[in-house]
Symmetry: C2
Subunit: 226 residues, 2 copies
C-alpha cells in the first residue's frame, strides 16, 4: 500500500503540477479544494477535472466562506488589477492577496492528513514567478511545518512527523510547466484566472493570467487552455 498524501488543489497550473509530483513520488493522493467565496469558483470545476485526470484517490471540496472576513479582491468587491507591467508583479503585495489563506488551507490539510493517518502534505506554492504573497515563501512553509508537528495527536503520540512538500517553490513558471508536461499534466483542463469572463474563460489580463502566459512563452509553448 502506498503512503497517503494530502494535496492542496486549486485547479490551477501550479497545484495540478504539485499533484502530479505527489503521484510520481509514489503517494496515494487525496486532493483537497475549497470553496471560500472566491470570485473564480470556476476553478473548482478545473480541480475536479485535474483530480480525475491525474488519478487522485479522492477529491474533497470543503465549503468555508471567507467572505465575512473580507480584505481581498478575490473574495470581495474590490476590482482585480489588470494589465500590470511584468516588473511590477513581484513588487509589493497586491489586493488579490487573501489574508492568511494558505495558513487556513494548510490547517485543513493538516486536519485531513491526521484523519487519513498521512504525514505528507503537498502545496504548489512558488516564490519565483509569483504574486508576492507572504504565505508562498519558503520560510512560511518551513515554519508551518514546525507548528504542524506540535499541533496534532498523531505527532505528539510519535506516530510520525508531518512534512510539507512544496516541490515547485524554487522553480520558474516555465520550469513548472516543463516538469508538469514530463509528468503528463494536461494544462488544457486547468484554470488560473482570478476574474474569469462570463462562461468561465480566462480574462487574459489579471496577474495570474499574465504569469501563466509568461510561463508558457518562457517554455516556448502555447497555452493549451488559451
Amino acid at each position: 500500500m502506498n503512503p497517503k498524501a494530502v494535496v492542496l488543489l486549486s485547479g490551477g497550473l501550479d497545484s495540478a503540477t504539485a499533484l502530479a509530483v505527489a503521484i510520481k513520488e509514489g503517494f496515494d493522493a487525496f486532493a483537497l479544494s475549497f470553496f471560500y467565496g472566491q470570485r473564480h469558483q470556476v476553478e473548482l470545476e478545473a480541480a475536479s477535472r485535474v483530480a480525475k485526470a491525474l488519478g487522485a484517490s479522492r477529491h474533497l471540496v470543503l465549503n468555508l466562506d471567507m467572505r465575512p472576513i473580507g480584505g481581498s479582491a478575490l473574495t470581495g468587491s474590490l476590482a482585480v488589477p489588470k494589465n500590470r507591467p511584468v516588473d511590477e508583479l513581484s513588487e509589493g503585495i497586491p489586493v488579490t492577496y487573501v489574508p492568511a489563506r494558505n495558513t487556513v488551507f494548510l490547517s485543513y490539510a493538516l486536519a485531513w492528513a491526521e484523519v487519513l493517518e498521512s504525514f505528507d502534505i503537498f502545496i504548489g506554492v512558488n516564490a519565483l514567478d509569483y504574486s508576492g504573497y507572504p504565505d508562498c515563501r519558503p520560510e512560511f512553509v518551513r515554519s508551518f511545518e514546525q507548528t504542524a508537528n506540535l499541533a496534532t495527536k498523531a505527532c505528539v503520540e510519535g506516530r510520525g512527523a508531518v512534512k510539507i512538500h512544496a516541490p515547485l517553490i524554487s522553480l520558474t513558471k516555465a520550469q513548472i510547466i516543463r516538469l508538469g508536461l514530463s509528468l503528463g499534466v494536461d494544462y488544457s483542463i486547468t484554470h488560473s484566472c482570478y476574474d474569469p469572463l462570463p462562461g468561465g474563460k480566462a480574462c487574459g489580463h489579471c496577474d495570474s493570467c499574465i504569469l501563466r502566459s509568461r510561463g508558457f512563452a518562457g517554455a516556448g509553448l502555447a497555452d493549451p487552455a488559451a
Copy 2:
C-alpha cells in the same frame, strides 16, 4: 482609540474568561466563533450571550463544516466518553479531540486580525486542567505565533508583530474561575458540555462537564449554570 484584539470565543468558561481578560487589558474585543459541525452547537448561543454581556465590539460566527474531515466524537457519530475517572482525564488524547482544530481556528483569527489591522489574538487554552489536546500546549501556541509572523502581509510589510495571548495557559480551572469572577464574568450564561441533553442542558458526565465541576468545587463555589 483602543487597540483591537481578536478573541476566540466558544461560549465556554475558558474563552469567556479570556474575553474578559482582553477587555480588562484595554483591547476592543472582536469575538470570533465557529459553527464547525459540533454536536454542542448550543455553545454558539452562549458565545453570543457572553460577547454581549462582556461588551465585545463585534461577534462574528463563521460557518466552516469540519464534518467531512471527521475523526472526532465532537463532529461525528463516535460517542462522547462519559464518567471518566478524574485521573484519566489528562492521560492520552481522547476521542473528543478534533484534528487540528486550534490550528484552523487560529488561522481564521489571524485572517480577521489582519483585515482589522489588529496584531493581538486571544485564545483561552489551558494546559493544566485540560483534556490533553496537543493544540492547547504552550509550545504549540508559541510556534503558531512564529508562523503567523511569517504568514501575513501586515507582518511582512513591518506594520506590526502578531502576539497570541493565552492568558489562562498555566492556570488551574479554579484559578480561571476566580480570575473571571474578579473581572465580572457571569458563568451562568456560559456552556461547556460536549454532549448536551435535548434542550441544551449540560450532561454532567463528559470530560468538559467534569473539569468544569471540579473547577467550581476547587474554587469553593457552586456552578451557576448547573
